[in-house]
């Protein structure tokens, strides 16, 4: 092997050895996480909506249709905070997916070598074959360097991000499946508080009392459905958190079959959950 090629091979091998992060797993996991997280946009309820519904129910219970404004500013703020956690997590996964995309460093130099080989550069004459060969080596070296650099960066970013990301996902879960779900539990209590007296009001006809009972069950099943979707999304968030932890804990062994299997199962569960949630729209 000529000395130049030996050096190049060495450089390429070194670059790959610097950081052994299998970018395919990072990219695929980020992709699945983005699709799963995006279901936040289709959640059927929010803090502000729960507030407005509670407020409306109060007016109905008081037979009031005059001056029915509702102050839901605190709940709107709670929604903004929850959305901020969601968008920050989303942006992280989008960035991770972009930089781990395998095609990112496939630099296209065929146009350049074509011009160099066929162009008229006055007294300088280049053989097309030579140009193509050199361009191929240059592309390979360029890719090796940028890939080695990229792998190290990605490894570092995942390490730095794991702890804060776990915190963000924990609090996203607390807000949605904890606090918002709690507000929905309260809604159920309020509906029961309102309808119980109407259903038991013996001055009303049987038809009216039956109708109120029907309305009550309809309302409860709506709230139950909203809670189910929050619960489902909570499971998705749990999978994302676990998945990132698996990535972080196995950054140097992503080619290990057991780790690969674990990540594949995780992605499968994430994709399943995401498509289930999407089908509920």
């Amino acid at each position: 092997m000529p000395p130049l090629e030996k050096k190049l091979t060495l450089v390429i091998l070194c670059s790959f050895a610097i950081g052994c992060v299998n970018l395919k797993h990072v990219s695929e996991f980020s992709d699945s996480s983005i699709s799963a997280l995006a279901n936040y946009e289709t959640l059927p309820t929010s803090f502000a909506q729960a507030c407005r519904e509670n407020c409306r129910q109060e007016h109905i219970a008081n037979f009031n249709v005059y001056r029915t404004e509702c102050d839901c500013s605190s709940d709107e703020k709670a929604d903004s905070i929850t959305r901020l956690i969601y968008t920050t997590s989303m942006q992280y996964f989008e960035g991770l997916m972009q930089i781990s995309d395998n095609t990112l460093t496939y630099y296209e130099t065929s146009d350049l070598s074509g011009i160099l080989g066929s162009g008229n550069f006055g007294p300088v004459q280049l053989q097309e074959e030579d140009v193509k060969a050199h361009s191929k080596i240059a592309t390979l070296v360029l890719r090796a360097f940028s890939d080695g650099y990229r792998r190290n960066r990605i490894k570092q970013y995942i390490k730095e991000a794991d702890a804060p990301l776990q915190v963000l996902i924990h609090f996203l879960r607390l807000n949605l499946n904890g606090n918002l779900n709690g507000k929905l539990e309260v809604q159920k209590g309020k509906a029961q508080n309102l309808y119980f007296d109407l259903v038991n009001d013996k001055s009303l006809s049987t038809y009216e009392r039956t109708k109120f009972a029907e309305d009550y069950f309809k309302r409860i099943s709506q709230i139950d459905e909203n809670q189910r979707q929050l619960q489902r999304f909570d499971e998705v968030l749990d999978e994302i958190a676990k998945g990132h932890q698996t990535l972080y804990a196995n950054l140097d062994g992503l080619d290990d079959n057991e780790v690969k299997g674990r990540l594949a199962r995780l992605r499968y569960r994430l994709d399943q959950a995401a498509s289930f949630l999407s089908s509920q729209k």
């Binding site: 730095e160 702890a163 709690g182």
Partner: protein
């Protein structure tokens, strides 16, 4: 006195909800035994307790901001770094593309092909 955390407030809201539900259940189970006034009074208190509980859940959600501030900043910094890395990696392709464009113009000028010169310039600036 240290402030309550979002998780502590959520825990309080959960406990408050259990007590509130217990009060509601008491009224529903003893509806016929209670006088109209008693029923009305308990119903009112029950309603108020439900309102306080839902406010506590909102309060807990608002308090999460204090718990996540530093994590948000850390993730923001990392996302900015990923965007920068992406930009620099795609920048290499841009440099190659631009260099190829310049070379095309140079080759066209040297061959004195005016149509090709115009086409190459259009492609460069387009």
């Amino acid at each position: 006195m240290p402030k309550l955390t979002s998780e502590q407030v959520k825990q309080l809201a959960d406990n408050m909800l259990h007590m509130t539900n217990a009060l509601g259940d008491y009224r529903y189970e003893n509806f016929d035994k209670l006088t109209e006034d008693e029923n009305k009074k308990i119903k009112e208190i029950h309603g108020q307790m439900l309102n306080y509980t839902t406010e506590l859940y909102t309060k807990s959600a608002l308090l999460t901001m204090e718990d996540i501030e530093s994590s948000l900043a850390q993730i923001d910094t990392i996302s900015a770094k990923t965007r920068q890395l992406y930009k620099s990696l795609t920048g290499v392709q841009n440099v190659i593309d631009q260099a190829t464009g310049v070379l095309k113009i140079a080759a066209a000028i040297l061959s004195l092909d005016t149509t090709q010169i115009s086409a190459s310039i259009k492609k460069m600036i387009g």
